[in-house]
Structure formats: structure tokens, C-alpha cells
Point group: C2
Chain length 671, copies 2
């Protein structure tokens, strides 16, 4: 059969992607050629015939999203961006080098056109669920009859490794439940992972599993050469609007490599110079120059970009008509898309009367509700604990993945996917995501929190039940090391407010962050609302730490530093100390990161270097507290796991009493 | 139809379990009655007719294992232990109180008969996979024709919440792959989780999903009353030896509660006094006294225990015959079961010649292999990275879940389940488990590591690729905060050796730990083997930190403290300082925990209080280092994420050079 000119061009484009990957990886001396060689056909068909994008504006609002969840195959993505977009050849040549736009794994923000930072397996797959949810949410909020200004799809390319990860299973189960019909995963089923054939560890029937999870599953038996089958499956996936689609594409890892195709040897290391030559010969690639892109291929791929440019022009016209008809909505859309807060957004937040007693989780729920009313693009939910975290938005319905209606996302008991889906919402833009669960389960979400921090995503992670004061549920449910382990993470803001008023300020700080995630750590137990008439203003929250109480008319002899619920302990200890004639300052320190970022004069005004008699108290590990307590200071914490007992009993038995704080201070003061 | 006497007794026993749960939870004022009320029938049938246990010896070697993965339903387990075992009534009365044996969630070690600490959902399910693997492994190693001394089954009771968790999906996929025919999960399918009906978030077809994962799936439509159906399904599960079994048992949460059955209201809070009375009436429970166990129920349940006692007596006789025939095997079995190491176990470990250069992961692999030869009960594996972690046991085959043959477990890209399965192996006893993956993926395993620490499980968690020296793979693969976040966890030993010789010592320390997990943190990059002829002995590893080098014949003016690869940086800086006339001590500090546990004289001999000019260097976050550097000290670390570039470039660009260390020391020394 004669190969048509179009088919020859397709093959040339696919081989260009393959050759670029081979060359860049050889040049860098490291990288993963196996996936680009095998998955180039499906990626090419998607980008050439289906994906809606405008290379001139990679961040176009209504573009389709493409996530390479198998981030180790980054050269496939960079090759696509080079062929179809704007990534220059020099960057391909600098693959994996210091300062390049082509890092080893794709990084959002580093490379235009990269939608999500991937590499830790399963994360990108879960991100794509968030991207697809955001599209539905915004479509519901902004589209009006005759004005479809939000109308795009989300694609992810996933690997065997992705689908082995629990987070991908969680995300898939939720996507099926929500009926995210505009989400499609291309599964590069090459039956090989780093250690060898997947028969070593992964023999489930993936397609059947996804069907059981409510997905529309198709199979392409020859993903190496059968482009029409890939094309048809993608078309059918687009036609299916009620269920997410999985396309199981059988491929050969390292396709074309005579010595390594179909084996793990092609997975994670360069082919080697000789094998690279043999592979190109096998593929029929006749160009000697590395990084070569034939002119006809470039022109052929440009046509897909031109299709996208036309689509964007049509969209711009649609948007203009819509904006004229709905100016208020358009203003909102612009604000939300830009991550900007409207004037006066924080003016009508709840205030709490001194002396009232409520948990900071309760206060947090009230603040969130007030914010959600003002900022209709806040979207979030919880991992089956909204009754406890208090984070449901009252009056809003449950989020519906088909229509995009509703604002309360029921993530189910799927903390890890919840975190990564929130990241996906943030990657999409136009929505402001939050999540909620118990603080101890931050551990389940940790890889996703790390990616939020690395990618400057302004997700608000709400964590309640923040210490041993959880009580009877016992050590499995009592955070000990969690504050330290989150404070240790670069790029994350941790806030643990002491009362309802500080909680208001903490939420304000969190929302004002445009490029940093926040962990908002709240109490289960009721806490008195502090009397700001006699104590320092909670406005100090934004500086991380502030003087809450000072001795009247005399210099303090000791300083008591505390966070969250333990601030009340410090205040009580201060009274005990006053009765013993020792003047104590109380510092509330809701955020280490914010305090560390203040200038030295402010920091020294709160913690004067000369005032070395310091007692720090926090119902968690002492790890790291030397930073603030200093060498002479004493840290009252808990370097063991908790226990099951009523909270008051636990706090007493484990030493969280005003008397113990006062005793430590007395000892320091030489009394 | 007349109810038979036996059926009446069964019902009375089930209602006893229900009433005990109601009473204990009312008495405690907190707890989860919904699961015990609904799942009591299946649990009762399992314990009464199938489970092999001897109440007189809850830790009998060949007992069946039962894990309540849905740990919030702890009162069901305590009720079972009370009815069938030896848990006294006083403990039921002290449910959730300080010092009781009945904490809010089951805790291994606190309550005889509790096999695993559960509560964080999904963990127990994954533990059960490890328990079942251990049984097969030991059966293969010890059973001989005519001598089946290892011959038991593993059961877990799992909830909707468990099965939503990714870790359970990972564990189930691996269990199906391995064909763990002696593993059975009873799935309490009550369609209600804490936030309401599971229709909010969980609508997948669980049975079909498990079939796709290679499980034998059965369904019991009326789990509230159809005991014969439960019994038959359990019998069929026992007959199926080639696949793990899932029994989907439809139940009503809070069964019997007129006001709350079938709703989330019965899930996580006491029924309330009035509803408790109504529920008992509805159940036909006529006993007024709380915590009542009718005499006929006690006698009826004792018969199950008697069956177990007979089985144990038969087993003891079998064991005696086997031991007589295979005394060496029996000696090994006893050692392994007791967690003891044989005399001379550490005598033939590899030694490394000074000046050779190899990564500590390479050295670690050689040590592990030497240990594995000596200790045939070491069993472990990796998450699809054995080629990189170097942790495969040479000459051993892949672990086979049907026969129990082989020692290399291919966990697949399932880090979280890997951790929890290793915990399950340790819970079982008789095997010594290890796991391996990249250090950055410790985050994926964190909830499992925490439970290992809480439960004093001597799992060795090997983590390689321990810093930005990972290089080109970039920030997603470069640990920064991981050392700090693991050091912050109570009960975990963290070891980061500096060279091959320290790696030998680190493995020795790890294996000698009988009741503590170890994180063994190893380098990707090659590191010179230090010359112990001129430097301090690596035996210092067991003290956590030691003087590696001191100035000859003079007191040091500065001390350089480092861990892992950065020790070499410190040594190089020391040479630079010597050339500038500044005498420096170098301290290698592979383990903070071990060093902190030394007495003050030793600690002060390594870090003299007067020697406050200290430079600490570690290619990770500075968080927490004030503890050792002190107030005058300088910490050279990395409080940002890494980047993609060759390792040498990265280390230089991010400041890990001997020159920078020397400069910091010079500044401290006033030079």
C-alpha cells in the first residue's frame, strides 16, 4: 500500500519528536528516552489534531490543558513545545542544564506551555482532575446562553508507574464519581517500568478497573503505528461528555531501538551513542545533524497552531460580546484569573467578642463562609470530615462534575488526591482552592503540599484537630511532629492562630498570598476569645509573632513564647508569675515564616537578644524551637506520641499546665 | 419459622457485642458506635466459626491474624476480645481513658490480641497484606512434608473509608498480583461515611474493581442478619488458595438504632442515653446492667476459644516433631521470632579500602547482601527502583505470594503500601523487613513510617539519592526538608553515613535495633572511603556523632559538623583552614537521635560547650540545626528547593563548596 503524503508527514513529525528526545538525552548524558520513543505517536496525534492551543499565547484562558503526568518523559513534552509551540532549539540543547527552561522533569513556571510540575508519579494525573473540575466550575459560573467562554478539555498522558500510585487511583475514583466527561487520560501501556517488565508487580486489568470506577475505557492495540485508531479514540473521548475517558494505548517502550526497545534498558538512561545511531537508522531518520527539524514537519505542525490561533481569535470575539453583555461577570473573571482580591474583600469578616469560647476550627469556618460569600471563586472541600473541620460553605450545593454547579467538593477519604486536585485547581487559575482534613493526615498529603510549595500555588490547606487536645482518638490521630515537618518545608506558610480573632487575621494572610500555599492549623477544642482591649492587637499575626502582653510599667524578666492553644497557657502562667513577682512578656507566634521574614529591629523588639530567659511552649515536638528559645531558653513540648484519654487529662498528664510553664520561667529567672 | 437454639445464641452473642459497644461509648462520651452495630454479625461469624486463635495465648505463633482496619470501630474489637478472649470487663469500662488497654483506636502492644495499630484509614488493610506475605514466606522456609508448622490465614475488616484510600488500592493491587490466597477482607459496605452517604463521593463498583485486580470477590446481600451467607462466603474464601478474597457484606451502619441507623449520625458520636435505650429495645436486648454478658453467650463463645486451644495443642505437638527433625531450622525460627540476631551476625561484613570511591547506596547494597546471607529471614524490596537503590538480594528470586518462595519483593510504584506492608511483615514477626526507594519519596510513605515509629517496629527504610546531588532529575527528586522532617518524628532513628565504612556501621546499628524503625539515608553520588588510619573510627556511628579529625597537637578553634556526603566537604575545608593557620575539628554526625541519647560527658567531648565557633553543613534545610550549631554557630544548608543540573554544578551554584565552609569558619574564628 502506498503511504499517503499526509501519513508520511505524520511519521516524519513523530520521528522528529523521537530524534529530538534521543539527541537531547545523549547530549545531557541523562534522561528517559523510553517514553518519548513509545508515546510520541499518541502525543503527536493529540497535539496535531485535537488539542486546542495557541503557540503565540501558551497561557490563553480557554486553552485545552495537557499534563505529562509521566514527567520523566519530559523530552517528549519539550519536543512537542518545540515543534508546535515556541520553545527554541537552544533550550532543547540545554536539556537538564543549570538555568535552562528544560529541566529534567517538567516544571510549571519554568517553561511556557508546561501546565503542571510532574515527576513524582501520580501527581500529574491527579492535577488533571483538578484542571477538569475548574473548567466545569468556571463554565457553570461564566457561560451564558450563546456565550461559551469556558469550553475546553483536559488531557493527561499517564504511565504504568502513574497508575500504580494510590493517588492516581484516588483521583480516578473521584473523577469517575464526578463524571468529568472533559477529562481524557492517554495511558502509555508499555508494560515496562524501571525495574523491568510490569509483570513483576502490576498485572491487574487496568481497563476493567477504570470501568468499575465509572470511566469510559477504550483500547488502542497498536499505539506504535496505528494513528487512525488513536485519532478515533480521541474523537470518541471528546464525544463522551458524561464520563472521563481512559484510552489504553499499547506501545513499545524505547520504540525503534534495536537493542533496547521493549526493555527497561531504554527507560531511564541515554541509549548511548552507538545505539542512538542504530535507532535512528531503524526509524528511517536520515538527518545527521542533531536536533534537526525538517522544514516540512515544521510547516505541518504549524497548521495545528494556526488552528488554535483561529480558535483563540473566535474566542476573543465571543469574550468581547459576553463581556459587553455581562460586564460585572467579566470584571469578576478578570480578578479571579489574575489572582487579585476585590477592593474591600476583607471588610465584612466576623468579629468575636472577648470572653466567648470557641474552637479556632469553628472560627475558621465562619471566616471561610464570609470570604466565600465575597469571593465566589473560592472552591474547595474536605476529605469526609466537613462536620469536624467546619469548612463547608453554607448555602452552597455539592460540587457537580458534570454541570460545574456547587462549591462544596466531597473529596472522600482521599487526602492525597485532594491535595493534588487542589493544586490542579490552582494551576488552572480562576478559582481559589482550599482543602480540609485533620492535621495528622497532613502526612497523607505531603507530596502534594510539597508541589504546591515548589510551584507557588496559593492553595489554603486547612488542618483542624491540631494537637494532643484531640483527646480520646489517641496517638494515631494526634499530631506531634507535624508543625515542625511543615515548617521545615521551603515555600510553605504555616499559621497556627491562638484564638478566633487571630484566626480571622490568619485567613486574611492566607488569602492575600498570591504565590504561596498556606497551612492553616486550627484547634479542635474551644479557646477563649482574647480581650484585645488589654492585649496586643491580632494585627500582629501578619508579622508572624507579636507581643501579646507585657508587664505593666516594668521590663520583662522572662518571655513566654507560644502558638495556638498554648498561648492561653502562657497567659495563665504569666498571671502565676506575676503573683510570684516575676514580670513576664507573652509572645504569640502564629507563624515562624512570617516572623523570620521581618527585619531585625522588629524581631528584636519582640524577642530582645538580652532577654535570654525564654520559655517556648507548644503541644508538639520541641524540634527546631531552639531557633526562638535560644541557648538559655527552655522548650516545653512533646517528643513522644500522645495517648487516648480526654483532652484535659492528656494535657495535664503530658505537662501542659500553666504551673509547669511558670515553674520553668521561675527557674530561668533564678527564683 | 422457629428460631433454632443455636441461631438464638448467635443472635445473643452478636447483640452482646452491640450492647458492649453502645455501653462503652456512652460511658466514654465519645466513640464510633455505627460500625460495631453493623459489622458485629460478620465479625462474630468469623471469630466464632473460622478464626484460629487461643485466648490463653494471644501471641501464638501460628494463629490467624485479624486486623480491624477500620480502627474507629475499636469497640467491636474490644468486644470480641472480651467475649472470646481475655480482655477483662474493667478495660471495657475504661474505654478511651488514660492508661487503659482500650484506647480510642486499637494499638498494638497496648491490648493483647490487637495485631496492628489502626485508625488512619487504609493502613490496616495494607498491613494485612504484609501479614499474609509473612505467612507464605515462613511457610516456605520452615514447612517440610508432613510438618506444616506455619499454616494460618489473615483477615481484615475494612470500611468504605479504607477502600477510598490510595494506600488500600495499592495494597490490593499488589495482593492480587501476588495471589495471596490466604488473605481475606471483610468489607463492611454500609454506604455511609462520616460526612453522610457514600453516594457523595464514592460510587465506584468496588467488587468489580477488585476483580480487575485479581481478587476473588463474593457478595453478601444481607450482612445484618444472614449469618449462613457470611459463613458460606468465609468458607469459600478459605477454599480459594490462589487469589485473595474480598467479601462485600452489605450492612446497615448503626443497625438497630431507630433514630440513627443507616445515617452518618451513628458514625462517630455516642448514640445518646435515650437513643441507646431505644436501640437496645429494638435489638431485643433486655438486660439493664451495662456491659452485661449473658452466661450462655460467654459459654457459647468459649467453645470457639476451646477449638483454638485444641488447634494450638496439636500445633505444639507438630512443632515438637518438626523441631526434633529439623533442629537447626527450629533454632533459626526461634531467633527470628524473638527478633534476636545470631552470634557473629556482624562478623563477615564487607570492608572497604581507603581511597576507593563508591556511593553509600552501593556500599549499602553490599552490606545488605552480606547480612541477608547470614540472616535468611530478611525480606524486603523496593518500589520499582532496585537498580538505583541497589537493594536487591543477589541470588535470591523474586518473592512469590503463592508459594512464599523468593526474597526480593517487587512492590511496584506503590511507596505508601510498601511502607505499610513492611509494617505488616514486622507485626507478623519472624521476618525482618526492609524497603527501599528514593529519599524524596519518603513523603509518600510518611503515614506508614509514623506507624512504624509509634509501634516500635524494627523496619529498615532504605532511602537513596539523598540530596540535591541527585542532579539532573531536578527539584521534584531532590530532598531538602526530608532529613528534618524525619528527625522531627518521635521514635524513628535516622542515619546518614558519610562513606562506605560508616554505612557498614549504620546497617549494623539498624539491624541491632529490636524495637525502633530506622531510616537509612544514602547517597547517589560516589564518595571516597575515608582513611580510618588517620581519622576517627567509624565505630563512632553508634554514638551518633564522633570526632573524625582533630588538629594535631593543638586545641581546635572551630568545629565543623557535617553528615553524609558533606563530611567530605568539611574535611576539605579543614585542609583549607589549616593552610590559613586555623585549627579545625571535624565531627561526623550520622544520627542526631543516637547522639542526643549519649550522656553529657560524651556529648561535650565531641562538642565542647566552650567551642562555640561551629559551622554545621548539610545539603538540606537548616531547620533544627541550631540544636548543634548553637547561637554563635553558622549553619550552611539549603532553605529552598533544588534545580535540574549536573550534580557538581548544582553543589557549586548552591554553595556547597569547601571554600564557603572554610570562609564561614574563618569568619567565626575572627580571621
Amino acid at each position: 500500500m502506498a503511504v499517503s503524503a499526509a501519513a508520511a508527514l505524520d511519521l516524519a513529525a513523530i520521528n522528529t519528536l523521537r530524534a529530538l528526545a534521543i539527541d537531547a538525552i545523549e547530549n545531557a548524558g541523562s534522561g528517559h528516552p523510553g517514553l518519548p520513543l513509545g508515546a510520541a505517536p499518541m502525543a503527536y496525534v493529540l497535539w496535531h489534531r485535537h488539542l486546542k492551543f495557541d503557540p503565540a499565547q501558551p497561557d490563553w484562558y480557554d486553552r485545552d490543558r495537557f499534563v505529562l503526568s509521566a514527567g520523566h518523559g519530559s523530552m517528549l513534552l519539550y519536543g512537542l513545545l518545540h515543534l508546535f509551540g515556541s520553545l527554541p532549539r537552544e533550550e532543547i540543547e540545554r536539556f537538564r542544564q543549570w538555568g535552562s527552561r528544560t529541566p529534567g522533569h517538567p516544571e510549571r513556571g519554568v517553561t511556557p506551555g508546561v501546565e503542571a510540575t510532574t515527576g513524582p508519579l501520580g501527581q500529574g494525573a491527579a492535577n488533571s482532575v483538578g484542571l477538569a473540575m475548574a473548567e466545569r466550575f468556571l463554565a457553570h459560573r461564566y457561560n451564558r446562553p450563546g456565550h461559551a467562554i469556558v469550553d475546553h478539555r483536559t488531557y493527561a498522558l499517564v504511565s504504568d508507574g502513574d497508575l500504580m500510585e494510590g493517588i492516581a487511583s484516588e483521583a480516578a475514583s473521584l473523577a469517575g464519581h464526578l463524571g468529568l466527561g472533559r477529562l481524557t487520560w492517554l495511558y502509555d501501556a508499555n508494560d515496562v517500568s524501571l525495574d523491568g517488565p510490569t509483570s513483576l508487580a502490576f498485572t491487574e486489568d487496568v481497563g476493567r478497573r477504570y470501568e468499575a470506577c465509572g470511566w469510559h475505557v477504550q483500547r488502542v492495540e497498536d499505539g506504535n503505528t496505528d494513528l487512525p485508531a488513536i485519532d478515533a479514540a480521541l474523537a470518541e473521548a471528546r464525544a463522551e461528555e458524561a464520563r472521563p475517558s481512559l484510552i489504553v494505548v499499547r506501545t513499545t517502550i524505547g520504540y525503534g531501538s534495536p537493542g533496547k526497545a521493549g526493555t527497561a534498558a531504554s527507560h531511564g538512561a541515554p541509549l548511548g551513542a552507538a545505539e542512538a545511531v542504530r535507532t535512528k537508522a531503524e526509524l528511517g531518520w536520515e538527518h545527521e545533524r542533531p536536533f534537526h527539524v525538517p522544514n516540512e514537519v515544521r510547516a505541518h505542525c504549524r497548521s495545528a497552531g494556526a488552528r488554535g490561533a483561529r480558535a483563540r481569535a473566535e474566542w476573543e470575539a465571543r469574550l468581547a460580546r459576553w463581556a459587553a453583555a455581562h460586564p460585572a461577570l467579566d470584571a469578576e473573571r478578570r480578578l479571579a484569573a489574575g489572582g487579585t482580591l476585590p477592593r474591600g474583600w476583607d471588610e465584612e469578616l466576623p468579629a468575636f467578642a472577648a470572653g466567648a469560647k470557641l474552637a479556632t476550627r469553628e472560627a475558621g469556618g465562619k471566616v471561610l463562609n464570609a470570604l466565600a460569600e465575597r469571593l465566589p471563586w473560592i472552591l474547595g472541600g474536605d476529605a469526609d470530615l466537613s462536620g469536624s473541620t467546619k469548612t463547608a460553605i453554607a448555602g452552597a450545593s455539592d460540587f457537580d462534575g458534570r454541570t460545574g454547579q456547587g462549591r462544596n467538593v466531597h473529596f472522600g477519604v482521599r487526602e492525597h488526591a485532594m491535595g493534588a486536585i487542589a493544586n490542579g485547581l490552582a494551576y488552572h487559575g480562576g478559582v481559589r482552592p482550599y482543602t480540609a482534613t485533620f492535621f495528622v493526615f497532613a502526612d497523607y498529603m505531603r507530596p502534594a503540599i510539597r508541589l504546591a510549595a515548589m510551584n507557588h500555588l496559593p492553595v489554603v490547606f486547612v488542618f483542624t484537630h491540631d494537637s494532643i487536645a484531640v483527646g480520646e482518638d489517641g496517638p494515631t490521630h494526634q499530631p506531634i511532629e507535624h508543625l515542625a515537618s511543615l515548617r521545615a518545608m521551603p515555600g510553605l506558610l504555616v499559621l497556627r492562630p491562638a484564638d478566633a480573632t487571630e484566626t480571622v487575621e490568619a485567613w486574611k494572610v492566607a488569602l492575600a498570598e498570591r504565590a504561596r500555599p498556606t497551612a492553616l492549623v486550627l484547634s479542635r477544642q474551644g479557646l477563649p476569645v482574647l480581650d484585645r482591649g488589654t492585649l496586643g492587637s491580632a494585627a500582629g499575626v501578619r508579622r508572624g509573632a507579636y507581643v501579646l502582653a507585657d508587664p505593666p510599667g516594668e521590663a520583662p524578666a522572662v518571655v513566654l513564647i507560644a502558638t495556638g492553644a498554648e498561648v492561653h497557657l502562657a497567659l495563665a502562667a504569666r498571671a502565676l508569675l506575676a503573683a510570684r513577682g516575676v514580670a513576664a512578656r507573652v509572645v504569640s507566634m502564629p507563624s515562624w515564616e512570617l516572623f523570620a521574614a521581618q527585619d531585625a529591629p522588629y524581631r528584636e523588639s519582640v524577642l530582645p537578644p538580652a532577654l535570654s530567659a525564654r520559655v517556648a511552649v507548644e503541644a508538639g515536638t520541641t524540634f527546631g524551637w531552639e531557633r526562638w528559645a535560644g541557648e538559655r531558653g527552655v522548650v516545653l513540648g512533646l517528643d513522644r506520641f500522645g495517648a487516648s484519654a480526654p483532652a484535659a487529662v492528656l494535657l495535664r498528664e503530658l505537662g501542659f499546665t500553666a504551673e509547669r510553664v511558670a515553674e520553668a520561667a521561675l527557674a530561668l529567672a533564678g527564683r
